[in-house]
Symmetry: C2
Subunit: 446 residues, 2 copies
C-alpha cells in the first residue's frame, strides 16, 4: 500500500479491510478491485477505492489481504447444530432407518443442555472456520445453543420447536412452543440472536399445532422454518393420511407465506412449485443431505425460474456430514448444470448470492446482513486465492465457487469482531472442542 | 508410544509410519488401529501391530501420526495437467463452446514445452497437496510434463497422444504417435513414469489412426486412454457419421480390452454397458467435469453392477476446476445415492477403493500401487482427523469420504520419499509456482 498519510480531516473508523477483490453481492455480479471496506461500531460505513479510503479514513486497525477476495459472511439456512456430535455415526442408511434406528434412540438417551451446548459449540467452530457467519438452527434446548453462539461470536437464528412426540426437552407441541417462546423472551436483546418458529415437518406436526404456529407467526411477526417434501414417501404418506400433498395442507393451515422457509423441497410437482411461488415461500436447498440420504435432487432450476428465492443449507452434520456452505454452493451449481444438461445455469455470482443474500432473505435478515451494503452488520469472509489450488485467477467469483474450499477462508468477522484470524478461531479453544468431542464420542459408543 | 528398545536382532528399515488408523484397501473394508507400516528402499515391507513393529524393526525415521488415518496415495486416472494454467478462464460454457471458442484458440497460440512444464508443475503441486500420488495425463509435449513429474516427485502415466488436427506439438496423428513413442523410449527407465496410448476421442481420431493404435497396443503391451461417450451429442454425431455408436466403432477397430480406460462414459445405453463389461474395459468416472460442462451423470451404479472397474478422474483444471480426487470420490458416492434414491450405494470403503486400487487397475499398475500390500511401492497419504470438521470419529472411512477435505492431508510419500510434510511440499517452492502461474495468467489475458 502506498504510504499516504491521512488528511488532517480524516474520519475515524474501527477497521479498514483492504483485500485485492471485493464482491459486495449488492450490486449483483460486481467484483471491485483494490477497494477498502470501512467498519465502525460493527457496521459497514463505507466501501470505496483503496486510495480514497486511505485519504479519507484513519482506522484503528487495518487488515491488508493482498491475494484475497472479501465477500459477505455465508448464511447457512438449515442445520441442527447440536447433532454435530453424532457426525458419521450411521452412514449409508435410508432416512427412515437412519432416524428411527440410530438418531432418535441416541437422542432419547442423550439429548440434554450439555449435549446441545457442546455440539453447537463444535458446529460453531466448524462453521466459522468455513466462512459461515449466520446459521439457522432447529434443535432441542435452544437456550443451550444460545450459550454456544454467545461464546463463539457467531450469529444465529434459533428455532422455536414444535412437534408432537415428547422428549427430554418437553412434553409435546405446546410445551415446546412455550419453552421456545420463553427462550426468545429471555434472549431478545442479544445482538446476534434471532428466532423463527420451527414446526419440524408435516409428518410430525398435527393440524392443531400448525394452527397455533400460524397464530403465533401472525402475532409475533416471526418467520417459520420447516422441513417440506423431503422425500416422495412423505408426499405419498400425506396423500394417504390427509388426502392432500404436504404443501397443500400447509397452505390450508396458513403456514405458507413470505416469511416461510421450506427446507429440502425435493419431491415437488409443477403445482407444488406454483404454490410456493404464489406464497413467496423461500427454499433452503440442501443438496448434499438430499443426495446422501437418497432423497433425490431438488428441481432448483425450476424453482429459480418460478421466482422462488433459493437459499442454501448444510443440514445437520449427523447426516451431511459437513457444515460447509461453500461446497453446498458448488454442488448446487454442478447439480443443476448436470440435471438440465445446461452449463450456463447458476453462474458463480448467482451461487455466491444464494449463499449470502439469498440466505439473509430466507431468514428475514436482509436489512441486516447478506451483502456488503452500507449500514449492514460487518459480517465478512475473506478467502485467499494464492494457493496451488486457486491459481491462476481469471475470475475471483469462479475461483470461490469452483476452486476454493473452506480451507482457503482466512479471516471472518461478525459484527466487526474478528472471530477467525489467519485460519484460527479467536473465541474458541481447539483443545476444548477436541476434548469435548472425544468425551461425547466415547459416551455414544458406550 | 511406549519406550521399548528394539530387540538386538531388530531388522533395519528406512521408515516406520505409525498412524492411529490404517486402511490398506487390500483386504477390502478393513480399518487397522494402532498398526505400523514399514518401508525400505521405497517399498512396503511390513504392516503389523505397532507394538510388534517397535520390537521387530529399527527404522531410520519414524513418523508418528496420532490422529491420522493412513491410506494408499490417491490415483487420478484422468487429467490434462498442463491445462491447469487455464483454470477458470471460461466457466459456465457448454463443452463445444468452451473447447472451440476458448480452449483451442488459447492452446493454438500458447501451447509449448514451457507452458506444459509450468502447468504440469502447478498441477503436481496441487495434486500432491491433495493426496494424489499418481496421475494419468493426456496432453501435448509429454516430455515437458515428465520434467515436472521428475521435479515434483509424483508418479505419472503419460499419454502417447493421437488425433488428426495439427498443432504446435505435431503435424497430425502419425507425428504425435512417433513423438510420444520417442518420449517413452527416452524415459522408459524412469522409476515413476509409465505410458498409455492416448487417442483423444472417437470424434477426433480416424479409423486409420485407431488401427495404428490397436496395432501399437498389441506390439507394446501399452494400455489405451480415451475419452468415450462424454455427451449424447457425441453419440448422435457418430451414429450420423459412421452408423455406429462410438463404443461399437471402437470395438470394431479393436480398441476395447482389459487395458482400455474409457473416460467419462456418461451417455450410455444398456448395450454400451454390456459391451464395456464384455471387454473388461475400465471406466474413469469424472463426475464434477460431467456436471460442470452439462454433459450429465454417468450411470455409475449400473456400470458397477455390470462388474466394470470404476476409477476416478478429476479431468483438467480448466474444466473442473479442481484437481481434488477426494471430492470426486465424495461426489461419486453422493450422485449415485441421489440418482438411484438408494443411500446404501457406494459405501465409504468402496469409494476409497475407487480412488486408489480401482485407479491402479485402470492404469495397469495394480501390482505396483493402489493398496498397502507388502511389495508395493510406498505411495501413501495421511489424513488428519483432529480438526473441527472431522470430529468426532466413529468411522475413519466415513470421515475420509464425507467430512475430510484435501486440506486435511498432512503427509504424502511417493516411493517412500516424503513429498508433502505437515501440509508443505518438500520438492517444489510455492514462490516458484506462484510466480509462474501469475506470468501465464498475464500472458493469457494479453
Amino acid at each position: 500500500m502506498p504510504n499516504h498519510a491521512p488528511t488532517p480531516t480524516a474520519v475515524k473508523a474501527d477497521l479498514m479491510v483492504c483485500p485485492r477483490w471485493i464482491i459486495p453481492v449488492e450490486p449483483y455480479g460486481v467484483v471491485q478491485e483494490d477497494h477498502a471496506l470501512i467498519i465502525t461500531n460493527g457496521q459497514i460505513v463505507d466501501l470505496l477505492p483503496r486510495e480514497a479510503a486511505i485519504q479519507r479514513y484513519t482506522a484503528e486497525s487495518i487488515e491488508t489481504l493482498p491475494d484475497h477476495v472479501l465477500i459477505p459472511g455465508l448464511v447457512n439456512t438449515h442445520t441442527h447444530a447440536g447433532m454435530t456430535l453424532m457426525r458419521g455415526i450411521a452412514d449409508d442408511q435410508p432416512l427412515k432407518t437412519w432416524l428411527e434406528d440410530w438418531i432418535w434412540p441416541l437422542e432419547t438417551r442423550w439429548v440434554s443442555t450439555d449435549m446441545v451446548r457442546d455440539g453447537t459449540l463444535l458446529a460453531c467452530a466448524e462453521m466459522l472456520l468455513s466462512g459461515i457467519t449466520t446459521f439457522n438452527d432447529m434443535y432441542f434446548f435452544p437456550e443451550a445453543a444460545a450459550e454456544a453462539v454467545d461464546q463463539a461470536g457467531i450469529r444465529a437464528s434459533l428455532g422455536i420447536l414444535a412437534f408432537e412426540v415428547p422428549t427430554a426437552y418437553g412434553h409435546g407441541a405446546d410445551d415446546y412452543l412455550n419453552r421456545g417462546l420463553a427462550t426468545r423472551d429471555a434472549l431478545r436483546d442479544h445482538p446476534r440472536l434471532s428466532f423463527m418458529l420451527a414446526p419440524h415437518a408435516p409428518y410430525t406436526v398435527s393440524d392443531a399445532t400448525f394452527d397455533k404456529v400460524a397464530t403465533l407467526a401472525a402475532q409475533t411477526g416471526l418467520g417459520i422454518h420447516i422441513h417440506v417434501h423431503e422425500t416422495q414417501q412423505e408426499v405419498d404418506d400425506s396423500l394417504r393420511q390427509y388426502g392432500e400433498r404436504p404443501l397443500e395442507r400447509l397452505e390450508r393451515l396458513g403456514i405458507l407465506g413470505p416469511q416461510t422457509l421450506a427446507v429440502h423441497a425435493v419431491a415437488l410437482n409443477d403445482s407444488d412449485i406454483a404454490l410456493m411461488a404464489r406464497h413467496n415461500v423461500h427454499m433452503a436447498h440442501c443438496p448434499t443431505a438430499n443426495l446422501k440420504l437418497g432423497s433425490g435432487m431438488a428441481p432448483s432450476s425450476q424453482l429459480h425460474a418460478a421466482g422462488i428465492n433459493i437459499a442454501l443449507g448444510t443440514d445437520g452434520a449427523a447426516g451431511n456430514n459437513r457444515l460447509d456452505l461453500l461446497s453446498e454452493a458448488r454442488l448446487a451449481g454442478l447439480l443443476a448444470k448436470g440435471m438440465e444438461q445446461n452449463p450456463g445455469l447458476f453462474p458463480a455470482h448467482s451461487l455466491i448470492y444464494m449463499a449470502t443474500l439469498g440466505g439473509a432473505r430466507a431468514l428475514g435478515l436482509q436489512d441486516q446482513i447478506g451483502s456488503l451494503a452500507i449500514g449492514k452488520h460487518a459480517d465478512l469472509c475473506a478467502i485467499a486465492l494464492d494457493s496451488t489450488a486457486t491459481l491462476p485467477v481469471f475470475d475471483p467469483a469462479s475461483q470461490i465457487i469452483h476452486c476454493a474450499g473452506r480451507e482457503h477462508v482466512t479471516h471472518v468477522w461478525v459484527d466487526g469482531q474478528c472471530v477467525v484470524k489467519k485460519k484460527h478461531l479467536t473465541e474458541i479453544s481447539h483443545g476444548e472442542i477436541y476434548a469435548k468431542a472425544k468425551t461425547w464420542e466415547n459416551r455414544f459408543r458406550g
